[in-house]
Amino acid sequence: MKRLWQLLVSVRTALVLILLLTAGTLAGTLIIQVPQNIPLGSPDHVQWLAKVRPRFGAWTDVMALLDLFTVFRSWWYQALVLALLLSIGACSIHRWRVITREVFHPPLRVAPSLFERPGTDAGDLAVDARSAAAELERALRARGHRVIAREGEAGTHVYADRHRLARYGSLIGHLSLAILLVTAFVGSRVGWTDDGFVVPEGSTRELGLDGLSVYVPSFVAESYPTGQPKDFRSEVVLLSNGSEVARKTIHVNDPLDHDGIRFYQSFFGPAAQLRVSDGSGRVVFDDAVALAWRADGDRPLGSLRLPAQDVTAYVVAPSAGGRGDALIKPGEMRLEIYQGRSDAPVRMAAVAQGEDLKAAGLTFTFVREKQFTGLRVAKDPTVPLIWLGSSLLVIGVTAVLIFPTRRLWALVRATPAGSRVSILTVGRRDHMQTEEIERILAGLTRPAGAQTEAVPRRRGRAPAPEARGLPERGIN
């Protein structure tokens, strides 16, 4: 148990997990993936695999077995994400106390002997220790530090830090990732989506959620003169038990939001207005049929079911673009009428606008061509949590990376000639921090109004070399 915990809180484990996830995500990017809307193991999935088989040959089965076509839904990818979650959680618990102690209860003084070590910066001042400590405090405050000074036997101990709360940035950043991952998981379970909710212009369709139906009075697809799409918009009227509850013209970037159910403009296509009447002249169907599927030859296809008559009609439009379709002329629709369970059509023929086709004791009239709008309907109550997690993520990583916490300890001692200021930091000191400490020490030499002189010097290492235009040696 203890070993497992140590494994979980180790940065090395986190690194390995990140690298494995990177490799997995890269595989999912480079290898073509089964579209997200095809359920795993469904006939569509099998068909999809058959389609890519010519490309991957015998490898198809091996890759499918390893979930390489469904990386982001695979057990191993999800296991990696789960392991990362555990690692994040364990690390956060592990670091929480350390960070809190460092932020709120930092050691205010360090052993004077540490100031004798290499890497310590020191400057000699001609003023007494008390004034030197005051100058140092002022200089540190001017650079945004919080300063705590204590008198000790060896001299004045000064502790200073800046951006100390940014230490929490790392925790916030990591926990926000956990929020995002958990929310995405929950959202995928409790959310409701329909990727292809199709409504022909002028028609009403039931949504199948909360007793709502959608009426689309008009749909417009605008193009630029070059033929490129410019704008798609649908007027959407939301009906609950027949009465209007919401209405909006939606565009691609401008959905309708009703009680957390959102309607997005997604795609569009042709539709055919049909009227069907029986032998006695009674109209049994008068609505538009959306041709949202594709038949052979890239022809838009839709279907219409009349349960009372046990009749199914397929409606096929000329191939998209309408150029040179030998079977169906522009402006015509091909109707294929099936009765009962028979696979053979009772009748099939292309009909022009306004023409009738008689079959199975019914009269099918192609009234006119229309368009349908394809909406994406989504209800995901967890989305606000995603934006919360995202905000925390940006705040966290910005705090910890762009405004890193700086801490230093100084000791101000009396010397025969005046005083000496020594400054110590922990951890790897970077160029910026080195420069700042040098500036602080140099600044102490000429405080406003004081007649002091200090000789800043560093022990151990040479000053940053390129800054002086000199090549550096001996670091490697």
């Binding site: 090395r12 690194l15 690298l19 995500t25 959102r262 997604s266 995202s390 990376l401 762009i402 040696r473």
Partner: protein, 293 residues
């Protein structure tokens, strides 16, 4: 406005070309002088004579010209925005020019802060390559397809990615120099320590910005397509990029991963940046509206 923007772009290209030449001369010119002196007078002399005034001058001209290139590119972006009516970020041509601007700006900030000019010999040619690429592809102002008609999000999403990509390019340059520096000690290169720090500091800027790029992309996807994440190739490619830099930030603190391996992660990270950047040319998916077919 179109003419003005084209003139600015050509001026930037010329300035950047000359700047690259100066930086390269600064790097390699110095090297040969070190070698010369070393054979003649021994290594002790080499240090003193390593920076002849004329070649230090080449570096200064490099900086000056790079600053000019940034100014011209800024002008180009302004003129282009006025001409097209939206931020210069909607097709590969505009985005590549902006990318070039991002690399140069990030580099110049580093140069000013760290006074390291040798990095210019990588950053300036990289920016030049991006700019040259921008000029070779069609600049036609294709009308925006509906999904891109969100001026605010388009501008912020892409502007933020310029910062991320620019800083990542600089960290890549620093990592390359680091790998060279640790293999064959080059007196005229900055110390390995400083190159490591430049690489790290660049990532500390790039990493939060890359997070923001992905989040803004998710926000936009939610508004336009009704889902904040759909495992679209461009989405997953940018996630790969972010994960590599995340790995780097962890690796750099670990014994055994400091130094060489971290530098290699920075190289891999930038490869992922370029892959994400050019990905829409061959990956397809929902980002395939780059103006190229």
């Amino acid at each position: 406005m179109d003419k003005m923007s084209q003139y600015s772009l050509v001026a930037a290209l010329i300035a950047l070309g000359l700047s690259s030449a100066c930086y390269l001369w600064y790097l390699f010119g110095r090297r040969s002088s070190v070698a010369r002196v070393a054979t003649a007078g021994g290594p002790a002399m080499a240090v003193d004579v390593a920076v002849p005034a004329s070649e230090g001058g080449a570096g200064r001209y490099g900086t000056l010209l790079a600053a000019n290139a940034v100014a011209f590119l800024t002008l180009w972006m302004v003129f282009r925005s006025i001409y097209t009516g939206h931020g210069p970020f909607s097709n590969m041509h505009e985005f590549s020019g902006a990318f070039s601007w991002g690399i140069l700006t990030a580099y110049l900030v580093v140069e000013t802060r760290y006074r390291v000019r040798t990095l210019g010999a990588i950053a300036a040619p990289a920016a030049l390559a991006m700019l040259a690429y921008a000029i070779t592809i069609p600049a036609d102002q294709a009308p925006l397809v509906p999904a891109l008609q969100n001026n605010l999000l388009l501008t912020i999403h892409v502007a933020v990615s310029i910062v991320a990509y620019g800083t990542f390019a600089v960290s890549f340059g620093a990592a390359l120099l680091y790998l060279v520096r640790t293999r064959a000690p080059q007196e005229h290169l900055p110390s390995a320590e400083m190159l490591d720090e430049i690489g790290y500091r660049s990532v500390t800027i790039g990493f939060p910005f890359m997070a923001l790029v992905i989040i803004l992309g998710a926000l936009w996807a939610d508004v336009a397509w009704g889902r904040y994440w759909g495992w679209d190739p461009k989405e997953t490619a940018s996630l790969v990029t972010w994960l590599i830099y995340g790995a780097y930030l962890h690796a750099r603190t670990l014994r055994g991963w400091k130094g060489d391996r971290s530098a290699l992660l920075l190289v891999a990270g930038f490869a992922a940046v370029l892959f994400t950047y050019f990905g829409n040319l061959f990956l397809g998916g929902l980002h395939s509206y780059a103006g190229l077919k």
